[in-house]
Structure formats: C-alpha cells, structure tokens
Symmetry: C2
Subunit: 221 residues, 2 copies
C-alpha cells in the first residue's frame, strides 16, 4: 500500500510520447537510416542540453533538438537541406503518445496532474495539442522558466515551489532513469516507467516503484 | 601559423589511452559480448559522472566507473561475480596508450606538459605508471581535487589557477567533444583529436584545430 499522493507529475519525452516515433519521418527522408538517425538524435539532444548546463551555456530544448538533429544527420552521412531539417524538427511536435496514455489520464480524478519537462513551453503546447491531450493537465511547466535542466534540483523546485504541497505528496513519473534519480534526489516519490525492460541505472537513488507502462497508478491514489 | 603556447594540457581517457582496450578483458569473461559491454561501460561512466554533478551528488570517477560496469554487465545479461568485476575494473589501470603517444611526448621540450582528467589521482597514477608514461608529465591533476567534472569551468580552473599562465598560452587536447567545448568555453586553445573520423559536435564553441591523432602539435610550438 503506497502513501496516497496529491499530485502526479509527468515527464513528457519517452514517458508520455515515444521520441522514436520520429524514425518514420527520418526514414522517409533518408531510407534505411531512420532508426539510426532517431537514436543519435535523442542521445545528442540530452547530451547537448546537459553539457551546456555544465558549461554555463544554456540554450533551450528547441535549439538543442535542432543541433542534435544536425549532428545525427552528419554522423550518418545524410546530406540534408534546411527544408528537410525543418520537416524533421516539425515531426517533434507530432510524436506518438504511448497507447495507454489517454485512457490512464481519463481515470485520474482528485489528483493534480502536472507536466514538468525539459521541453520549451512552445514545444509542449504544440505536442499536447496535436495529440489532443492538453485538457488532461492542470499545469504544464517547462524548465525553460528557470533555465536549468532536469535532473538539477532547481528544475524540480521550479514547479514544486508553486505547488503548496509537501514533497512526499508528489508522485513523479518518468521513463528516463536520470529523471527518476533526479526526482528522488529532490524528495518526490518516483515511479520508473520501464518501457524497454531494462535494468535501472546503477545509482544510490532508486525508484519507489517500477512499472512497464502507466497502467499501474491506482495504488498511489 | 598558430600562436606559440607554454603549456599543453592532455585529457587522458580516449585521448592518450584507448578506453575500449578493456573490451578484450570483457570478452574473456563474457565471450561475444566484449565490445558491447565496453561501449555501454564508457557511455554510462560519463553519464553517471555528469548526472551526479547535476544532482549535487558527486562521487569520484573510480566509483562511477565501477557503477557503470555493473550497469553494462546487467544490460547485457552478463551474470557476474565480485571477482569478475574486480578483474575488469583492474583492467582500467592497464588501458592501451595510442601508438603515437610516447613518441609525441618524447619530442615535447620547452613546453609544460600537464594532465587534467576526470579520473582520480589513484587511477591516473596507476594508469601512467603501468604504461611507463609517468615521467613525461610535469603535472598530473585530477578534477577530484575540486569535485567538479570537466566540462564545468571550475574543473579547468582547478589546474589553471596554479599555472601562472594566460588562458591563451594553453593548448588543450582531447578526443572528447564535450571536453574540447568545455576547454574552449573556458578560454584555452583546443585541438580536437578526432580518432574516429567523426563530425564535431553541433556546438557554438568549436576546436581551433582538428587532428586525426597527436602527431600534429609542432605548429603550436
């Protein structure tokens, strides 16, 4: 029996939406290379966001997403144009939500639903609207408001300080191990959505729960 | 014609030593999985070091190297023992230096030679001694002294503040793109040792020079 919580905070990329749904768009522009480009794109997107933080050279997630795409294309010898890049970046606003997402969100009553993402306000707004999911969230918060990425404590604080809650009244959900470790480090409860059946990161902060998808939240409510 | 410099600062892992030379040791313990384990081991080693910095949970590079190995083994279903892990971690003190390293170091006169690494003092001391390279360096500096990883500015400052030099009198060498970006961000000259013929990272800080290996330093001297 888990402790009942008052807010559920969702990560977006990889948690609600499949970041690798861009591989079809990549494949269309660069046959046989779609999956590989998509993998590098995501890896570099996070690396650039984190490295920039470490160097004190913050740029928003839209900028690093574009930069990461350019690297992913270059490393796969995918000769591109401004136009192709625009089309691929646009596909990031049309990621596919995981199949259970809407039905799970529909069932959440009497608990505040929040998004806390490294994406910009504009990216999040477009993504949720295109997927028809905007109305399910009480708050949509971007770390861009404080220009510090998750998993820094400042990023979780950016939403939390406005919440009026105690940290242990919050359940944080992410499929990203660094995000779960960051949320636990901050003091939230955290459930790791282990969509790819992987071991958890070798970290001294561990999730309170591990689920294969979002269909397991009722024990927290 | 490059500006003559007074100190050459070397990164270690990937720059002087092949981090993937551990794949033979991995292969011996886990046939067919050596290269894959080695790849994940290196990726997670850096990720854990960086994520911990972001969370304010610093642990030294020896600890994250062990943690990263455990993850790499787990993700490849490589059932391990304490003994095997010890043997593999020990192999990190016996990495193979790239073939040109010693001959290049032998030719460096009238310039200070420095190591600045994320590795601990103990890791660096053992690695250089086992390779017979200790005597080529005037200083061996670990970021563990300040508990801030490269590419944070504090990490480069940790050595620099003791140097008595101007930043533009320093040439920094690394095969790691994040390290080159970090060194340039700090104000050093930086040459990227592009050992794998890759595009440079999509960053607004770029190397001053790109070389396939260390055999091209004379233009700086």
């Amino acid at each position: 029996m888990k402790q009942p919580i008052k807010a559920i905070v969702f990560d977006v990329y990889g948690t609600l939406f499949d970041v690798h749904s861009v591989k079809d768009a990549c494949e269309q522009e660069f046959p046989e290379k779609g999956a590989a480009i998509s993998q590098v794109w995501r890896t570099k997107q996070l690396e650039y966001f984190f490295w920039r933080h470490m160097m004190g050279r913050y740029e928003d997630f839209d900028k690093v997403t574009r930069d990461a795409l350019r690297y992913a294309l270059a490393v796969h010898d995918a000769t591109s144009t401004e136009e192709i890049e625009q089309r691929l970046v646009a596909s990031y606003a049309h990621l596919t939500p995981y199949e259970e997402v809407e039905s799970v969100l529909k069932e959440l009553h009497d608990v505040k639903t929040v998004i806390l993402s490294n994406g910009t306000d504009e990216m999040l707004e477009a993504l949720l609207r295109n997927a028809g999911l905007s109305d399910y969230f009480d708050e949509v918060v971007s770390v861009d408001g404080i220009k510090q990425p998750k998993p820094t404590p400042a990023a979780y604080m950016h939403w939390f300080k406005t919440s009026g809650l105690r940290r242990d009244e919050v359940l944080f959900l992410s499929s990203n191990g660094w995000d779960i470790a960051g949320a636990k480090n901050f003091g939230f409860h955290a459930a790791w959505i282990n969509r790819n059946d992987l071991p958890f990161e070798e970290f001294d902060v561990k999730p309170d729960a591990v689920y294969p998808n979002l269909n397991h939240l009722s024990e927290w409510l």
